[in-house]
């Protein structure tokens, strides 16, 4: 079921191929990027910027980046803590 929904999202042009997300780094810090599915984007935690994915194409021109609010980064930290506590 998970595989089917991932395939459907890829066909819809929002999911980036896993090997591509492994190859890509932040254009500014050159550090790893984290995939975010909703909204489809690549997050550079090193500099707190998110880069959109449009029609399956990652937009990694530096000026495409959007600075994340502290709220957005805190939500991610809380989600990570929750999943660690639940294990």
């Amino acid at each position: 079921m998970v595989r089917l929904s991932k395939w459907l999202l890829k066909e819809a042009g929002t999911v980036v191929d896993k090997t591509l997300s492994d190859i890509l780094v932040c254009p500014l810090s050159k550090q790893a990027l984290r995939v975010c599915e909703e909204p489809p984007s690549l997050i550079s935690d090193s500099i707190g910027v998110s880069f959109p994915i449009k029609d399956g194409i990652p937009c990694l021109v530096p000026t495409d980046g959007k600075i994340l609010d502290t709220d957005d980064t805190m939500k991610h930290d809380n989600a990570a803590d929750d999943s660690a506590n639940n294990k």
Binding site: D17, I23, P27, G56, I57
Partner: protein, 253 residues
């Protein structure tokens, strides 16, 4: 390719107002505007020869089966598709450009051409001056008619050097800024009397006027070799092709 019913007007050297295309975002918009007719115009203006030059550029890059390849300033994807054929199913090719419109066309072309090996291509919108790849990743890089258009050529060379594996090559195809007066004059005449009038038919006179300025501001073969060596490449050689109208810079890390 369109079959056009027009006769190329034999204009006296046109005095169009020079459009300054100075900053990166101007150039990005220019390439977005010409995207819909870019391929047709390339075919028309080079009488199909650009396909040969591009095959030569790919050959000089040393790209082979199974490689991880990068095509910079990929535009509508001509070089990317050639690199994809070299890499095969076990390889990977990234086509990178800063024009969304060109990438859209490249992406659509991939589906229309529907060759199985083209599944190894990924399109990325990015900046040649800040590449979103880690150090030493690629086995070969091509760049077709891109270096002349980047704002900071030195930085572009440094980024290419950074993302190349040691021992790998970059192959940069572009117009040649010739030191031979006859060649330079012929090139200028072609732009004034063939390229711009043809582009005018498509409503893109201003955009193709930019071509002349960009060649004027480009580097000669010797200067390009020095640029590559200064960026850290251990070997750099500029090959003139098509009677000196075009050139390919090959540099090895």
């Amino acid at each position: 390719m369109h079959s056009l019913q027009f006769s190329v007007p034999l204009l006296p050297t046109s005095r169009f107002k020079r459009h300054s295309v100075r900053c990166a975002s101007d150039r990005q918009q220019l390439f977005n505007r010409i995207a819909p007719v870019y391929d047709n115009l390339n075919d028309l203006l080079s009488l199909g020869q650009h396909r040969i030059w591009k095959r030569m550029a790919v050959s000089w890059s040393g790209a082979k089966t199974g490689d991880s390849l990068l095509d910079l300033c990929c535009g509508s994807g001509d070089l990317t598709f050639l690199m994809s054929e070299k890499a095969g199913a076990d390889g990977k090719v990234i086509g990178l450009d800063f024009s969304k419109e060109q990438l859209s066309i490249a992406s659509s072309r991939r589906y229309l051409l529907s060759k199985a090996c083209y599944n190894n291509i990924e399109w990325v919108e990015g900046d040649a001056l800040d590449l979103p790849f880690s150090n030493g990743y690629f086995d070969a890089i091509t760049m077709g008619y891109g270096l002349r258009n980047v704002i900071d050529k030195r930085r572009a060379m440094q980024e290419m050097f950074r993302v190349l594996k040691p021992g790998s090559r970059v192959s940069i195809l572009d117009f040649n800024k010739s030191m031979q007066p006859f060649t330079a004059l012929f090139q200028e005449w072609m732009i004034d009397n063939v390229v711009v009038p043809t582009a005018t038919v498509y409503g893109l006179a201003k955009e193709y006027q930019y071509l002349k300025t960009s060649i004027d501001e480009f580097l000669t073969g010797k200067e390009l070799e020095k640029l590559a060596l200064d960026a850290g490449f251990s070997y750099a050689r500029h090959y003139e092709i098509s009677g000196g109208l075009m050139g390919d810079l090959v540099a090895a890390r």
